[in-house]
Subunit: 220 residues, 2 copies
DNA sequence: GTCTATATGTTGATAGAC
DNA sequence: GTCTATCAACATATAGAC
């Protein structure tokens, strides 16, 4: 009898773990409205369940929002970190990051704005960010990435193939060029008179031009 | 008798227009907490007045938040737009934007995160952004900036002093490199293991290196 | 596990004295 | 213009039936 299911939610998988449905709905609503602006009722509706069920699975809005933030944070940074800390060639790294980031961010429009918004307005989110990130790679993340980059960059500088640049500036420059356009997308669309289609074309051109642009800036 | 003032707020200018005090307080609170997260009570306290007074001067939270957003929006963009639309040399423009933006954003830490957050979570803010921006320069802003840039960029490309690049990519690249580090400041500090002092030093180095970095990327 | 109904707490907004 | 006191609305959270 346990397996008997009555279809309650009009538009949702007949079965499918409810907890996951709630998490997905919460993800959608929190990213679009922000933690402070999101309403539990909206999440319940989006998940096709009742509001009480949200509290049954997650105890409070705070806990639910934390689960969502962790998941989101784990989606934004590990890509860059993983590639940067690898031992690929520098030129490859740049191309690699550009491709992965632009592809990924094209598919998750609200992600950068959400992360920036949360960290700006809720400083306590910082430790959750760190645990979400370091959760994926047990080592202390900072030294690993920076050390690897520093070694490669100074080797290239000694070899005369690249201008000297600090690893921090290198990394922030690359992240800025990849992430900012998505974080500021509404503003840029307005400022440059683009619609969504135009923005996608804009990003398409970026896919080809960004890595060469960045690497030229590093030529000696 | 009208000029007689009783000092109500413990820490605030003895006189000074109350409306302005409220606006300043609202600015501080809204930028730090976001519109949805800000509380009228907190604004009142920050202004050293009672909550009822907020409704006396501004009718509702919505109106107050709109006034703040307009003011903030008018602070972030006009600098770049004004310089970009001027007829300075391109190299000068880049250096000019870098200097102005880094200086300004160093003094208004929450500004970029706030604007991004608002536009991400409240799409209706877009028209307010536009009216705030075009409010400063009556002409339609988009053609003016882009047209000027396009002319200069293709002239430089023809002269062989610069690689061909679309004005939109030029502008977004420059804005990304200037603004993103401030928008993502908490994240970057964590990621790179910097404290506030370290971040300021990081920006200081950027002041010198960013324009040359950017211009090298445009060398033929 | 999932629902309906309700309690509890916050918050924006108003009334009215001074 | 500025305050205190209060209202009305909403949002989160819980109780309890099924």
């Amino acid at each position: 009898m346990k397996e008997l299911r009555k279809p309650k939610a009009p538009a949702a998988e007949p079965d499918g773990q409810t907890e996951q449905r709630i998490l997905d709905a919460a993800h959608a609503v929190f990213l679009r409205r922000g933690t402070a602006g999101a309403r539990m009722q909206d999440i319940a509706a989006e998940a096709g369940v009742n509001q009480a069920l949200l509290h049954y699975y997650f105890r409070s809005k705070a806990r639910l929002s934390e689960a969502v933030f962790r998941h989101a944070a784990a989606q934004l940074l590990p890509t860059v970190i993983h590639v940067m800390a690898s031992d690929e060639e520098l030129e490859q790294k740049v191309a690699h990051v550009v491709t992965l980031e632009l592809d990924h961010l094209s598919r998750t429009p609200y992600l950068p704005g959400y992360i920036i918004s949360e960290l700006t307005h809720h400083p306590e989110r910082l430790r959750q960010l760190l645990s979400a990130v370091t959760g994926m790679t047990p080592e202390d993340i900072r030294p690993r990435v920076i050390t690897t980059l520093r070694r490669q960059l100074s080797a290239a500088a000694r070899a005369g193939t690249m201008r000297p640049i600090e690893p921090e500036q290198f990394m922030v420059n690359l992240m800025s060029l990849c992430i900012f356009p998505f974080a500021a997308r509404p503003m840029l669309e307005a400022l440059l008179g683009m619609n969504d289609r135009g923005f996608e074309q804009f990003i398409d051109r970026r896919r080809k031009e960004l890595a060469p642009f960045f690497l030229r800036a590093l030529r000696p």
